[in-house]
Symmetry: C2
Subunit: 361 residues, 2 copies
């Protein structure tokens, strides 16, 4: 006697969980990676996996940096788990592929068609994946070219790859697309905005959106650790900040006093984009009463932020950076189109060896 | 030749830092606890220290639970550091005392006079403290009666002790006062609000404020782990929720489906008040698109929240619970006055042996 278990398709993909039962796809040990779209799914032919950098480093170390061994390792993980979910680091990555099939219930509801090229914007740790074979591993970038397919759930995020921007550059900005999209919402005309870590990838895009929003009556202050770095020059030349402050973000007093010297009432909005710990208090001290801190940095400590604001008696709103906001990928790409200087810098940095035909005009 | 170093009084109290130089009062190893108010300080005669529970447990364990030994231990820490900052747990507590002196620059600007009784609402880890001697240690509550004095900086938070509410009850609600004050701001008339951990101290106060704000056209859903607990009865009897849902907050799907059964569009505002880990995803799934999650729980993981929302494609605002909001202590006390049933429950729980003359009418 055979028993057929029919699982109702769930928008979060729980119907693809094989074990343990009841888990969410991200917590699951193993997912069903069969290549047929449930009614609310998208199945893609995958070209490239962009393995998360922490995960790729662990795999590469384990394999002595050998490309073939790394490829075999990825193949083994995906065969065992039905997803590229590194059991040691717990992290995944994203994929680039071409849409093969869109489920019947989803087709009419999304602006996507079979044949289009997309990047997944959800982690590979929750994405059903099948790898037929590994074609090439680029040890320097953590990219793995494969033949295989992946499944996106109804809740899964994706973005169409643009025709006018290099794929590597697009991926680089998709990775931090939540930041500029949120800054666009938070900053209001005439306000003062401080961007901590203004010369990084998310920082540059955040400054551009902040300046566009606050306008000529507002003020954007970019905080950077080193005034002589190439990125500092871009910040100046792109016209996206009114002031550059060189300060140590971990020195709360020094940083906030430097901001106060420019904006005596402090900032309406502070955007924290630095990937070093212990910058919560500095961010809080740069913010005016009833202002907002947007913590985009994954190094943020929840308790340091919560107790820090109470300890200095600051009545401010502190927001956890959400990697997603509606339209975030398009906002990030548009920021590049609006700022050729930033686009050129990103191209040089993330796609140095590709031909410049997709570079900025 | 003698050198006098004159330190300018700073609103954050950096002028009281003795070592290491350049530290903030909380990071400092040792503070200057001399009992004279700088122009922007408040000096208090201290009656009671409420040692933070993690810190008190560590001290009590170290001292074999002996009250005299605990007293001597506290005395030693304060002599060495100029503050009751437990070097093992890193935590402090708060104090109750009477205002002795208010600095000249502060007097006219605050509604406080010498002689009034207050509770400090900032941590003892950043509060200059001198203990002349320890009078009594209550091993069950972690309270230490002393003769001594403490200093509050200009940025330091405090609250006058009310005449109509027992001191222990007032302290208990001051401890979580940030939650109801923030809920009061976030919830709007007609909205749906979910309070996770509705039967705890912060949960009950949050439900009361949520219900007052959303009104009869809105809906407050209280999520609790056990429908038979005494606190669940209070929740029902106080009339501060429209629905009670018994669910495991760590089971994201179960909890969110239970909420969806009551509020098909999910919640505008979710308030997380539970002190267990792994409830971030559940909170996120209960929230409608463009809604808000307020994480008051100190068990919140920043990365679990940030990556969780992205993983399920939720465009929501996630706020870090700030222990402070303007007027938060008064809002918390007023909540008790407005809800005699909650007040009676808190009295029974936090001041069971005191006379009831300060109990609710």
């Amino acid at each position: 006697m055979s028993m057929v278990v029919k699982r109702a398709p769930h928008r979060l993909g729980t119907h693809r969980v094989l074990e343990p039962s009841g888990a969410m796809p991200q917590n699951a040990w193993r997912l069903d990676n069969s290549p047929v779209a449930f009614e609310n799914e998208i199945v893609c032919d995958v070209d490239v996996l962009n393995i998360d950098s922490a995960s790729f480093k662990q795999i590469a170390d384990h394999c002595g940096g050998d490309a073939d061994a790394i490829g075999a390792h990825v193949l083994r993980t995906v065969r065992e788990r039905g997803k590229q979910h590194n059991p040691v680091t717990g992290s995944g990555g994203m994929f680039i592929g071409r849409v093969r099939e869109i489920g019947t219930a989803l087709r009419a509801r999304i602006d996507l068609a079979a044949g289009e090229r997309i990047a997944s914007l959800v982690s590979l740790t929750l994405t059903p994946l099948h790898v037929a074979h590994v074609k090439r591993v680029d040890v320097t970038t953590g990219r793995v070219w494969i033949e295989g397919h992946a499944v996106l759930f109804e809740s899964g995020l994706w973005a169409k790859l643009p025709h006018d921007i290099d794929e590597s550059v697009a991926l680089a900005v998709f990775d931090v697309a939540g930041a500029p999209a949120q800054v666009r919402r938070l900053a209001q005309p005439g306000q003062s905005v401080v961007v901590i870590g203004a010369d990084g990838k998310s920082g540059l895009l955040s400054c551009a959106q902040a300046k566009a929003r606050v306008g000529s009556g507002g003020c954007v202050i970019g905080l950077i650790p080193d005034g002589n770095a190439p990125s500092a020059r871009i910040l100046r030349e792109a016209g996206i900040v009114d002031h550059i402050v060189v300060a140590d973000a971990q020195d709360a007093l020094e940083m906030s006093e430097a901001v106060r010297a420019i904006a005596p009432d402090l900032a309406d909005v502070v955007v924290n984009c630095v990937n070093v710990p212990n910058t919560e208090l500095g961010s809080i001290l740069c913010t005016k009463d009833r202002g907002t801190v947007y913590f985009f940095s994954m190094s943020t400590s929840f308790t340091a932020a919560a107790l820090g604001a109470e300890g200095v008696g600051k009545d401010i709103t502190m927001i956890v950076g959400n990697g997603y906001a509606k339209g975030h990928a398009q906002t990030a790409l548009q920021t590049l189109r609006d700022h050729p200087r930033i686009h050129a810098y990103f191209h040089e940095r993330y796609a140095p060896h590709t031909d410049a035909s997709k570079g900025p005009q």
